[in-house]
Structure formats: structure tokens, C-alpha cells
Symmetry: C2
Subunit: 607 residues, 2 copies
């Protein structure tokens, strides 16, 4: 095990072929929302394509990143205008860092961090603002972001309402701040945004918005340190992770998190029970409400945006897992099951759920109600244990809303295709349309090493059916801790799954990017095809393996079919031929022989 010193470098600079821009919603010149523009070849005769951008300041051109100083704080001014009080915060203890010996201690991130606490009576959470009819800056921000920076007039002019099947979602052509507010007030969407995370670029999670993806990072007891984790964060958001969960366990957990939080432009989620367990020496039966409560406050003060809380793992449900093929596979779920069973007591998370809400509300930490009893194999999918817990999560959702908190619900896991929709339908019903946040699901168990793919199938489907955020799975799932390359592979795989879901739902802007790629492909604008894709570097490298010369970047073929067999080239010849024929009106009749089939006049055909 190597614990590394403080992080000192991360990947910066634009994605090749793109530039970062910031755009303000009409009437809000101070609210600057980031986008990525893909620059196209002049022959394209198209404006740059504007893309949603999760990568933060790291992809600005010529950016200087100082991890010690932390990121700029777009939310600081907004938060300053709200009724919060300052706090000196709790004292950091040796337990917070897993009792790391001093010589192995990663230093705390020195970026200045003022701790804020919300008050009773005044709105603190986005849910409370929404319920009070107040549109926050975060809501204005995410509306502009979801519109890809388009203004209403522009959106209505440019939009085609793509066909799609949205299963009774209510996706608008243009997202207004008021629509955002109403969705949050209804509990159908959340903006995970701790008031102690001013560096955040807000993002909305809900089924009437673009499908989001989460990437997990985190050291485990056997590998990796601080530098690696911060770079994994920056790397994951570079390729499109909308949120990042820090699932660290082991030593230095508090201090590594300080580096992550101060340098994270995306919402950060954690599973506080992991750290609580470290504080009691890894023995689950020593956990109690006090150590858990202390951990919630510690992490909330640091700025964590959402907590996975496994409060649905009730004592009475544990025996329902006894005959499963793979038992309990959620780490948090198994810890809590162990606690309940060894003490023969109801879960302290369940019993203290109201107290947990009170703490989380004060900082606007969103709930991600954990699915501690999710199936770990296709054999266990949709069983009594899983659905009993889901019903409890629905019950807890109402409690959290009453307390003013934002809530999303975690879902499985491992589910064969024919059982996926039942998960979504049941979740919508019993959890009152709170956003669903699923891991995969994996649609078969026979492909260790390829579970990013077995799960992308399920993820695309459940995203289509209504899941708001998809937790990625990397090729290393079930086998080991993902490295940098695995993180990228997982993120790209989930981006394409989320986008496939947006397309199928008929999201009004989704097809713009597909069509831009397809036009580039048909017009042999190879560089544009690479740059418009999710991973320009890999696409370019694959192409260049067999045709490395610059001249081939405008060639009207690739090595797959070669010049004589390129169907797209022949298609162009056909259009040219059709065009030539257009002048020969007499010949047009000859085309009509084809048994009553429609023949489009060649003048149109040549377009």
C-alpha cells in the first residue's frame, strides 16, 4: 500500500477539436453556464455544435489550476444572499482519517473553506425554496444548461420535436426556471447542492431532464491515494460524469475528501457509513447513532452534496435474503444487516431517520436512499427482499420531503431484460416519482471483464423507461479497483447509454448530435466525425491504425471497405447521377416502371 502526498497535477486543456465557452441565460448576465463547442470543418457549413459540459474549469484553454487554492466559486455570491450562519465546524479528529500515523497523513487541502449552516424557519434546501415558490440561481443555471444554452425563441425555431416514447414523462421542448422549480417542488427532480460546496456547477437530476451518469472513485484499503483520486475525479468529468461518488475507505479519508471537494465542479456523493465504520475500527456491531451522526456532520461541513443512506435495510427484511444465490451485495446494506442481526435490533438508520433528515436539511445534502438489498445476480432480481426495501424507501421519501430534504432513490443492480421495466414502474409508484438512480442493471452475469457492457444494455433501457441517473460500471466490476483507463471506459459507455435513452425518450435536443455525426460521416469529414463523438482520441487512433496519413482524413473511404467498396462514396455517385438525370425529363418516365412505387423527382432526390 502506498499513500501518496498531496496531489499536484491533473489533466487540463480542452478536448481535442472543442472549445469551452460560457453562456448566460437571458436577463441573468452574472450566471455563466459552461458548454463545449465542437468546431467543424469549413466545408460543413454548420455552426459549431454546442454540447452539455460537465468538465469544469479544467478544460478551459490555457487554464492554470492550483489545487491548493481550490476552484473558483460560482455559487458563493448566491449563497451569500441567503440566510445562513457561519460555523467554525467540528474539530477534525484522528478517527476522521482512520487513525493514519502522522508520517503517512495526507495534508488537508489548504483552500479556504467557510462553513455555512442553514437555520430553522428559513428555506435552506432547493426543495424548500421550490415549495416556497422561489426560483433560485441554481434553478436558472440548470434550466439554461439543459437547453444547451439555447434561448426560447432559438429553441422553438430550431427544435424538432423528435419522435420518441417517453412512458408518460413530461419532457418540455424548452426548460424554463419555473419548470425546474415545479419539478423540484413535486419531488420529481433534485439539484444536489450542499451550501458548503460553492465550487459546484449545478446539475439537475429528474426524469424530465437529460439522463445523467455518475462515476465512482475512491481508494480502497488495498490501493491508491490522494493524487490518484483527484485525477480520477478530473478525468471522469472530462469524459462526461455528471456526478462523482467518493467511495473511499481506509486511511486519510477526511483529508483526501478535502482535496476532492475543493476541486470538484460536480456534485459529490458519499456513503457515510463507510467512514463511520472506519471510525469504529471496521467492526460493524460497534457502529451506533452517535458515530454516524458525527460523520454526517463532518461530511456535510466539507460540502458533500448527497449521501447514500441505507435506511431501508430493516431487521425484518434480512431473512428474506437467506435463500438468495448472492446474499447481500451492497456494502452499506451488508454492514447494516450485520449490525441489525448481531444486535437483534431494528436499524439505527431507520429509527433515527428523522434526525438524519434534520442534519441533511441544514446543509442541503440530498438523500440518495440506498438499495442495500439490491440483487447481486440475475437469479435474485425483483425478489421479496428487494421490493420490501423499495417500499420502505418510498415511505422514507415522504418523511424526508416533510423535513424539507431533496431525495433520490437507488436501484439495482443485476436484472435480466424482461424484468427491468417492472423495477421502474414500481419505483415510480411506491416512491412517488422521486428520481430513480440505478446501478446498471447488468442483464447477464456471464461476462466478468465486460460488465460495463452487460450493464450498459440495462442502463440504456431503464434510462429510457424513466431512470434519472445511471451509476456507471467499469470493465473491472467484480474483479478489482478500476484504474484511470477503466474510469474513462465506464464513463464513455454510460454516456452513450444515457444518450441512447434520451433519444428513445424523444428528448428534443438529443438527436442534434447524432445527426451532426451522421452528416460528418456521410460527407467524409473524418476529423468532424472524430471530434463530434464521445471520445475523439480513441476514434482518431482507431482510424489511424490502418490509414495514418493526413491525406486520409479527407479520403472518401476507410480501410474497412477500401476505396472501391465504400457505400457512402457510391451513394454520392448515385446522387450525382440522379442530379445529371434531372435535366433529362424524358428519361424520368423510365423510372416509373417499378410496380407502382413512389418515385421522387430527381430534382428533389439530388438535395
Amino acid at each position: 500500500m502506498t499513500v501518496q502526498a498531496k496531489p499536484n497535477s491533473v489533466t487540463t486543456g480542452p478536448i481535442i477539436g472543442s472549445q469551452k465557452i460560457y453562456s448566460a441565460p437571458v436577463g441573468h448576465p452574472d450566471i455563466l453556464v459552461p458548454f463545449r463547442q465542437v468546431m467543424l470543418h469549413p466545408t460543413a457549413k454548420e455552426p459549431p455544435l454546442q454540447l452539455y459540459d460537465t468538465s469544469g474549469p479544467y478544460t478551459e484553454s490555457g487554464v492554470q489550476i492550483d489545487l491548493d487554492a481550490g476552484l473558483p466559486q460560482p455559487r458563493a455570491k448566491w449563497l451569500a444572499g441567503r440566510d445562513f450562519t457561519g460555523s467554525t465546524g467540528r474539530i477534525v479528529t484522528a478517527a476522521d482519517n482512520g487513525f493514519t500515523p502522522v508520517d503517512k497523513l495526507v495534508p488537508l487541502c489548504p483552500a479556504p473553506h467557510k462553513i455555512l449552516v442553514g437555520q430553522h424557519g428559513n428555506p435552506v434546501t432547493q426543495y424548500e425554496f421550490a415549495k416556497a415558490g422561489i426560483v433560485t440561481e441554481e434553478m436558472i443555471y440548470v434550466a439554461h444548461r439543459e437547453n444547451l444554452g439555447r434561448h426560447q425563441a432559438h429553441a422553438q425555431a430550431a427544435a424538432f420535436r423528435a419522435d420518441g416514447e417517453d412512458f408518460d414523462a413530461a419532457i418540455p421542448d424548452f426548460v424554463t426556471p419555473e419548470f425546474v422549480r415545479s419539478e423540484i417542488a413535486a419531488g420529481r427532480a433534485i439539484i444536489p447542492a450542499n451550501i458548503n460546496h460553492p465550487e459546484l456547477e449545478p446539475v439537475i437530476i429528474g426524469r424530465n431532464f437529460l439522463v445523467k451518469i455518475n462515476a465512482n472513485i475512491g481508494n480502497s484499503a488495498v490501493t491508491s491515494g490522494a493524487a490518484e483520486e483527484v485525477e480520477k475525479l478530473v478525468w471522469a468529468i472530462r469524459w462526461g460524469a455528471d456526478t462523482v461518488m467518493d467511495l473511499s475507505t481506509g486511511r486519510n479519508i477526511h483529508n483526501i475528501r478535502s482535496w476532492i471537494m475543493r476541486n470538484a465542479p460536480v456534485p459529490i456523493g458519499t456513503v457515510p457509513i463507510y467512514q463511520a465504520l472506519e471510525k469504529v475500527g471496521g467492526e460493524a456491531d460497534k457502529l451506533d447513532w452517535e458515530v454516524f451522526k458525527d460523520t454526517l456532520i463532518e461530511q456535510a461541513e466539507q460540502g458533500v452534496d448527497y449521501f447514500t443512506i441505507h435506511a431501508g435495510v430493516r431487521l425484518g427484511y434480512i431473512p428474506l435474503t437467506a435463500n438468495r444465490v448472492t446474499g447481500i451485495v451492497s456494502r452499506g446494506g451488508s454492514i447494516m444487516a450485520h449490525w441489525c442481526l448481531s444486535r437483534h435490533r431494528e436499524s439505527f438508520l431507520y429509527e433515527h431517520f428523522g434526525d438524519i433528515c434534520d442534519i441533511m436539511r441544514k446543509y442541503d445534502v440530498s438523500f440518495s436512499l440506498g438499495d442495500g438489498l439490491r440483487p447481486g445476480s440475475n437469479a435474485d432480481a425483483n425478489d421479496a427482499a428487494q421490493f420490501a426495501e423499495l417500499e420502505t424507501l418510498g415511505e422514507l421519501t415522504k418523511v424526508a420531503w416533510e423535513k424539507g430534504c431533496q431525495v433520490m432513490i437507488e436501484g439495482p443492480g443485476h436484472v435480466p431484460m424482461h424484468k427491468i421495466k417492472a423495477n421502474m414502474d414500481k419505483q415510480l409508484k411506491v416512491c412517488h416519482e422521486a428520481p430513480f438512480y440505478t446501478l446498471g442493471p447488468l442483464t447477464t452475469d456471464i461476462a466478468p471483464g465486460y460488465d460495463h457492457i452487460t450493464s450498459a444494455i440495462g442502463a440504456a433501457m431503464i434510462g429510457w423507461f424513466g431512470t434519472a441517473m445511471l451509476c456507471y460500471v467499469t470493465p473491472k466490476e467484480h474483479l478489482g479497483l478500476p484504474n484511470r483507463e477503466d474510469v474513462k471506459h465506464g464513463v464513455i459507455t454510460y454516456k452513450l447509454a444515457a444518450h441512447a435513452a434520451d433519444l428513445a425518450k424523444g428528448h428534443p435536443t438529443a438527436r442534434l448530435r447524432d445527426d451532426a455525426v451522421s452528416r460528418a460521416r456521410f460527407e467524409f469529414r473524418w476529423e468532424d466525425q472524430f471530434n463530434l463523438g464521445l471520445d475523439p482520441d480513441t476514434a482518431r487512433n482507431f482510424h489511424d491504425e490502418t490509414l495514418p496519413k493526413e491525406a486520409h482524413k479527407t479520403a472518401h473511404f476507410c480501410s474497412m471497405c477500401g476505396p472501391k467498396f465504400c457505400s457512402m462514396k457510391i451513394s454520392h455517385d448515385i446522387r450525382d447521377e440522379a442530379h445529371r438525370v434531372a435535366g433529362l425529363v424524358a428519361q424520368r418516365e423510365a423510372f416509373k416502371e417499378a410496380g407502382g412505387q413512389i418515385y421522387i423527382p430527381a430534382a428533389d432526390a439530388a438535395e
Copy 2:
């Protein structure tokens, strides 16, 4: 361009952890069907898991492969019993090898090859035998293969009828030769099996059987030679390709094919128009019926098992593609469209379709009716051109059946998720339930470099809906010719998609493998988990990246969570605890507090 000499070595030997076996159906000791058995750790207390095996003699232990001699001929004896006549065959011309100069000519495979031709009046094709009520050896073979070697009594004892949604398919618990015959007679399934391919291990393609996958190989004008192509074949079937299409173009095409055919245990498909085009110097408008007919006979004599024939690209449909974003993207389709348009004539493939049937029947070459107008982008999915052609393919299916031929139908392509099912439903209807054979479909266009995944999503779904065979897509799709690693990646990806489809359809044996993996996972039998998966080598390498020691192969954790956080380890502790509690009857009452939730007695819980 490098043209290599004759192939001299290929990958041989068992997949790690497995052994090849041959098993005979009851009452047919001469019919030896290959399977792969995965050997499990003694602690598993399970028999070896028997798997479908496409890899041919290459994976026998200690096998000696002599490519010059060709493979053993399991079908030779069966074919000898039928009423065929010998033929000296047509004369191979310089055109057959693309006019390759003598010094660059790959030699012909010297394996002995007697050419057979079927007669009028007597059954030749599997379809004709089936219609005549005759069960062939091929039918007996594939029945045993589909059952994974189980006998009827054993199958009924062991089978659980897995839940599933099969969309009105009719998947039996146990496949009998008579069921195979009836499915072939109904046109719902085919066994592509040219009478000149005695080396074949027969395979059945139909929606009431296991979903199959095809891998494409083939040199293009800019890269690769004979040795590479034979190794790609062997490599593709090693990882599970059920059929292989040789899409070669360019020089040496006839002679390279001779090496492939004599060393292929799987059905080989081709697109004869590619070679025909080479014979006329690459100029589509010089194609005619005579050169095409000559090519059909040439390839049929060599033993090709199925031909893609783009006879549905009719003159009148071409203008329907004029306003598409990506025009015509099928190579064969674009060649024929070019021919039709430049001559202002109906397709000679359509006009000579009856003649084509007569030739293909004589050798039992199956039709794969090509979708020359398939969409090349999500924008063009399910459009008028695509569906007009599909209806024509349905009309041609009936003609081919009347002529005694076996038929399957090719399908798209690029289709967003919400438009996939309409493809399957329409194909079943207009093509009279002839097996569907689709390329993907890709569910989004934004991920060049990852199109094996964008398409695996669509492939798994359309396989579930009823597609009988899935044509793989590699990571290099749209970018370049796949290499060996890409072929493996494509095959594994499609195997998992096909298997996910089998699971969702409720195929009675499909879940056996998933459950075996899950049990191995839960019991920390790491080697078993690797070996039961689709790619033991990759799974093992991923695991060993962080935990390389032999001792870690039995460790009750991996580097993902580390020892303290392994949920499966905790699950075992929970079961142990539950077991301990079982003796303390008095304590049982304490568990009942959980608000009316079911509590399973701990004695059951500990199982």
C-alpha cells in the same frame, strides 16, 4: 499492401479451465456433437458446466492442425448417403483471384475437395428434406447441440422453466430432431449447410433456438492477407462466433476462400456481388447476370453455406433514399443501386431471382436476403426505403421456399431503442417468420470507437424480441478494418448480448451459466468465476492487476472493496450468525418486532 503466403499456424488448444468433449444423441452413436466443459474447483460440489461450443477441433487438447489437409469431415458420411452427383467443377480463372500477378498469388489450399451437385426431383436442401418429412443427420446434430447435450429425461429433471417474455415464440424445454424438422419445414429456422462443406459442424438459426452471432472477417483492398484471415476465423470461433462471413474484396479472393472453407467448422457466408464486382474491374455498371451467376457457382462449389443477395434493392426504391442523412450504406445495396440507376433498369438480381434460387438449391446454399437499403444513421431508421425493401424480401422469401431454398432475412443497422420492436414485428409479419439476422442495431450515432456497445444494446433488445442471429459490430466500426483484438472484442460483446436475449426470452438452459458464475462469485471461487465467464483470460488479468498473488485466488475479498468492506464476506458472516441463532429458539421472538414483516425461521435462513 502485403499479400502473405499460405497460412501456416493458427491458435489451438483449450480455453483455459475448460476441456472439449464430444457427446452423441441417444440412438446415434456416430453423431458426435462438440461441447466445452468448464471444470470447477472441488469445493464447488458441482459437476462441470457444459457449454455450447463453436470452436471446432482447434480447441481439442493436444490437437495437431494441418491447414493443408483441412479439417475432419463429420458430414462426409451423411452426404455420401444422399443422391448427389460428383462434378469436376468450373475452371478457376485469373478473374477469380482479382487478376493477381502470379508472383503475388496465394496458393490454393491443397486439401482434397470433391464437388457435389444436387439433382432435380430428389431432396437436396434441409428445407426440402424437412418438407418431405425426413429428419437429416444435421437435424439430429443441432437438436443435441441446442440441448447442451442433455438427454430428454435429464433435461426434464434438471430444467427449470425460467421466467421470461418470449413475445409468442415457441421455445421448447427440450429440442427434439422432429421439432427441428418442423421448424425448418415452416421456414422458421435454417441450417446453413452447403453439401460441399463436409467439414461443417451444423448449427441452427431460428427464433425458437438459442440466439446466434456472426463475425465478419475478410481482407479489404488496403490491408491483410490469407494467413491473417484464417487466423481471424479460428480466433472468432474460439470466442463463440456461430457463423463467419468472409467479406473479402481485392486480390486472391478465391484462393484465400479455399483456405477458409477447408478449415471452417462453422457456416461461412459471403456476399457474392463483392467478388463479381472485382471480376469486372470494380465498375458496378459492368456487372451483369452472367458474371454474377458464374460467381455463385464458383462459391457454391467451394462450399460457402449462405449468400447475402441484395435482390430487394429495386430501381423504384432508390429515390426513396435521396433525402436520407446517410444515403445507402450497405456496400451491396449501393453497388446495385448504382447499377440500376446508371442503366435505368430493374435490378438483375430481382429479375433473375428464380435462377438464383435454382443454383443455390443445387448446393443447399441458404439465402441471407440482404438489406441493401438499411438505415446508416438513427435519422434514417424505419423509413420508407427500408420498409419497402423489407416487403420485397418477404415476397422473395416465398419464391425461394417454393424453389426449395432455406432463407433468412437481414435487418438494420442504426435504430434508436423506441423504434427497434417495430422492425421485429414487421419482419415477422411480412417475411412470414423467416429468421431475422440483424446488424446491431446501433442505438446512437455519437460514439465512434464504441459502436460494439451502442449496437450491443440494440442487439440484445432485438434478440429478445425474436431476432435469430446477431451480426457483430467491432470497436473499429465506421473507422477501419478490425484486427485480431477487435474481432475478439466484437465476438465477446455479441455473445453477452445474445445471452442476455436468451435469458429474457426464458430459454430453459440459459440461466444455468449465470447462476454458476454467481455461485462462484458468492463463494469466492475466483478461478471458477473467471473460467465460467466468456473471457477467462481478461477476467483473470483484470483481477491480477491489483492482486496478483496465488493466495488471492481464494481470498474472501478483492481490491475493489478490500477485506473489511466486502459485502459478500459480510453476507457469509450473516448466514453464520443466523445459523448460530437457530439454536436459540427463545431469541427468535426478538426478530418479530419488525412491524408485521415476514420473518423466515433462522434454520431456513441459514441454508
